[in-house]
C-alpha cells in the first residue's frame, strides 16, 4: 500500500520562505511522497473538511501527517489543531507543530490540544536540514499510522 500510493503531508505555513525550506527538504528526503501547502488556518480546515476549493476528494486526499505552524492568519494554528483533534474523522492524523516559537505557553497549549509532537524551527541551517530528514524518516517511515 505504502509503496503504491504516495503519502500526503499537509503543510500549514504562512511564511512563504519557510514553506520553501520545508518543500526543498521534502523533495530531498521524501521524494516518493506528496507535500500540500496551505498558507492559513482557514485554508487548512477547508482542505481537511473538503470545503470550498478542496471540495473534490481527488484534490484533497487525507494527509498522513499535518505539519502545522502556530501563528497563522485568519484561523490560528491552535484552533486548527483543536478542530482536528476533536473531529472523529480527523483526530487520528498525526499533527506535528512546526513553529519558530519556543514559548512555554505555546508548547503547553499545543500538547493540551493533543499535538503529537512539537518542533521548533532551528535557526541553524544544518540543523534545520537534519530535523527535516529525521522528521520525514520518523513520521513517514517508522511511524505506524492508523488506517
Amino acid at each position: 500500500m505504502k509503496e503504491e500510493e504516495p503519502m500526503v503531508v499537509l503543510l500549514v505555513e504562512d511564511e512563504p520562505a519557510h514553506a520553501e525550506i520545508v518543500r526543498r527538504n521534502f523533495v530531498d528526503f521524501c521524494p516518493a511522497n506528496r507535500l500540500v501547502h496551505v498558507a492559513d488556518g482557514q485554508a487548512a480546515l477547508d482542505y481537511l473538511f473538503r470545503r470550498a476549493q478542496y471540495r473534490d476528494p481527488e484534490r484533497s486526499p487525507r494527509p498522513a501527517l499535518v505539519l502545522l505552524d502556530l501563528r497563522l492568519p485568519k484561523v490560528d494554528g491552535l484552533e486548527v489543531l483543536r478542530t482536528i483533534k476533536t473531529d472523529p474523522m480527523l483526530c487520528r492524523i498525526p499533527v506535528v507543530i512546526l513553529t519558530t516559537s519556543a514559548a512555554e505557553t505555546d508548547v503547553a497549549k499545543a500538547y493540551d490540544s493533543h499535538a503529537n509532537s512539537y518542533l521548533v524551527k532551528p535557526v541553524d541551517f544544518p540543523r534545520f536540514v537534519a530535523l527535516m530528514e529525521t522528521l520525514g524518516r520518523y513520521w513517514l517511515t517508522w511511524n505506524e499510522n492508523s488506517a
Binding site: 504562512d14 511564511e15 512563504p16 520562505a17 519557510h18 520553501e20 525550506i21 526543498r24 498558507a39 492559513d40 502556530l70 501563528r71 497563522l72 492568519p73 485568519k74 513553529t99 519558530t100 516559537s101 519556543a102 514559548a103 524551527k121 532551528p122 535557526v123 541553524d124 541551517f125 544544518p126 534545520f128 536540514v129
Partner: protein, 681 residues
Amino acid sequence: MNDDRGDPHASLRNRAEAILARLPQEHADFSPTEIRRLIYDLSVHQIELELQNEELRNIQEQLERAKNRYARLYHQAPVGYLTLDANGIIQQSNQTFADMVGVENSKLIGQALSSFMGGSDHDVFLGRFRSFFNNPDGKSVDVALRVASRNLTARLTGRREADTFLPGERETTKPTLLVIVNDISAQKAMEKALRQEQDASRQYLDVVGAIVVALRPDRTVGLINQAGCRLLGHAQGEIIGTDWFEQFLPERARPEAEAIFARLMAGMIEPVEYVENAVLTRNGEERIVAWHNAVLRDAAGYVTGTLSSGEDVTERRQAEAELQQLSLVAAHTTNAVFITDAKQRIEWVNRAFVRLTGFAPAEACGKSPDEVLQGTETDPAAVAAIRATLDAGQSYEGEILGYHRDGSTYWVQLLIDPVCDAEDRVTGFIGVQTDITARRQARLELQEKNVELERFIYLVSHDLKSPLVTIKAFLGYLKQDLVRADAERIAQDIAYMRAAADRMGQLLEELLGLSRVGRIAHPPVRVGFCEVVEEALRLTAGGIAERGVAVQVNDAALILVGDRPRLMEIWQNLVENGVKYMGEQASPRIEIGVERCGREQVFFVRDNGMGIEPCYQEKVFGLFEKLDPKSEGTGLGLALVKRIVELYRGRIWLESAGAGQGTCVRFTLPDAVEERGEAQT
C-alpha cells in the same frame, strides 16, 4: 486555838518549876524584911509579867486578825492562786480557784494542775511547764480547763518565790511557783465574737465586687478587700501598711491624687464624690478605677482617713475610647460607610457616602443598600450574591458598579459585614464602599498593557526569529547552489533572504513607532482636521498613485488638539491599509470624513477594497495580526492606530459587509476634538 494556848502555859509553869528546882536552895535564911521585899519584888514581877503577857496576847490577836484578813484576801481574791511544786502538783489553792474548777479546796492539794486540762492543752502545758516554772517572768499560758459546768479558759501567769508561804504554812526549802489563774473565758468569748464579726464584715467586703480601700492619714493602706487585691495583683499583706500613692499610682497621676488627699486630710475640702484615676498593678499595667470617696471621722469630728469604693472601668473606658475613634473613622473616612438594621434598611451613612452616592442621609435612610447603590448596568449576579450572603448573615466582599443619584456610575469595592449581638443574632450590617473607579480603570489598562507585552515577547520568539530562520536557511542553500552553479536557485535564494531582511527591518521600525506612542509626545497643538488628513495623503501619495486610488475627503471645519505627528499617523496608516488591501477592485476609492453621532464626532476611512469577514474584525487590531499571509504588512499598522486612538480615549472599530464588500474603519477621538462651542469662544 484556845486549847493550843492553854497547853503552852501549863508547860511553861512546869518548865519554870523544873528550872527552879535545879537551882541551889539558898533563900531559907532570908529575914522577914528581906522576905517582904522579896514578896514585893515578886508581886511587881508578876504584874510585869502579866502586863507583858497581856501585851503578847494583844499582839497575837492582832496577828491572828491580820492572818485571817490575809487568808480572806487570799481566798476571796478575784483570781485563782495556786502554789505548785516543781512537778506541777498543787500544794495550795485559794478558794477562788477551787470555785473556778468546782472542786473542794482540800481535795485539790496533791493533784497535778495538768489533770484539769484536756487533750492538746494537757500536752502543751506539760511541755512548757519546766521553762514556765524556772523562769515564769513575762510568760503566760492560756489553757482550757476541764470543768463540768462550763468552758473555762484560764490564763496562767507565775511568780517564782521560794520564800513565799502563807501564815501557818510549814516552811519548806523546796521551790514553789505561785500561779495566778485568770478566768479569761468571757474575754475569749468576746474576742471570738468580735473576730467573727470582723470576719463577717471582711467577707461582706470581699463578696462585694467593688474595690474597697481605706487610707490612713499617713497615706498608708489601712484596709483593702479581695477585689482590690485582685486588681493590684498583690496579697493583702503586701498592700496593708504601704504608701498607697507611691506603690499603686502611676507616677504621672501621683501629684494630683496626693494633693487632693492632703487637702482632704486637712479637712479643707469635702471628698470628691466621684473620681477616676489610674492604678498600677503588680505587673506594671495601668487600670482605670472609678472611685466613690468618703472621709472617715472620729467621734470628735477629726478626719481619721478615707474610705473609697472603686470599680475597674478600664475595659469600659477602652471600649468607649475605641468606639469614639471608630466613629471618628467612620465619619471621616474617604470610604463610604453605611449601617443598616437587621432588615437591611439603611440607618446611618457617613459624609463620604453622601459624596459618593449623591444621596443625603435623610434620603438614604430607610432604603435598602441596593436601592441607592445599584442601577441597570450593575451585574445582577453580583446583586443576587450580595442578597444571598446577607440573608445568610454572612460577610460579602466584591466589586460592583454603583450608581450616583444623578445616574453617573462608579466602581466600588463593597464590603458588608453583619453585626451580631451577644446571642449571635444579626442586628444589622455595616457596609464600606471604596471608590475604585480609577483603580479599576488603571487595572484594566494594566491588564491590556500586559496582554500587549506578552504579545511583544511573543514577537521576539516568533516574528523576529522567523526572518532569521529564513535568512540562515537560504544562506545554506545558497552555498549549495553556488557549488552547483544553479543560477535560477541562486536568484531565488537571494530573493528570499532579501525579503526576510526587509521584513525584519520593517518590523523593527514599526515596533519602534509603536513604542513611541504614548512615550514620546509632541506638545499639543490646534490643527484643522483637513490639514492633518492632507498631510497623511501627501505621505501616502506614492501608493495611492500606483494603485490609482481616488481619494475623497469630506471637508469638515473640525479642529483637533493634540500631538500632530501622532494624529497624522492614524490617517496615514489607515490610507496605507486601504491601498494595500484594495484587492482586485477596478475602480479603487477611499473616502475620508467625520460624522456627528449623538454627542460624539465619529471619524471614518472607507474603501471599496477586499473587505473583511466579520469574524476577523476584532482580530485585525492585535499586534502582528494580518489576514493575508501574502500581504506585505507586518500586522502592526492597525495596532498602532488603535494605540493612538486610545491615547485620546477613543474607540475604533471596523465595518465591513464581508469579503469583497470594502471596509470602513470608524473611530472617535474625544480628547482631541475641540468642540465647536469652545472654538468660538
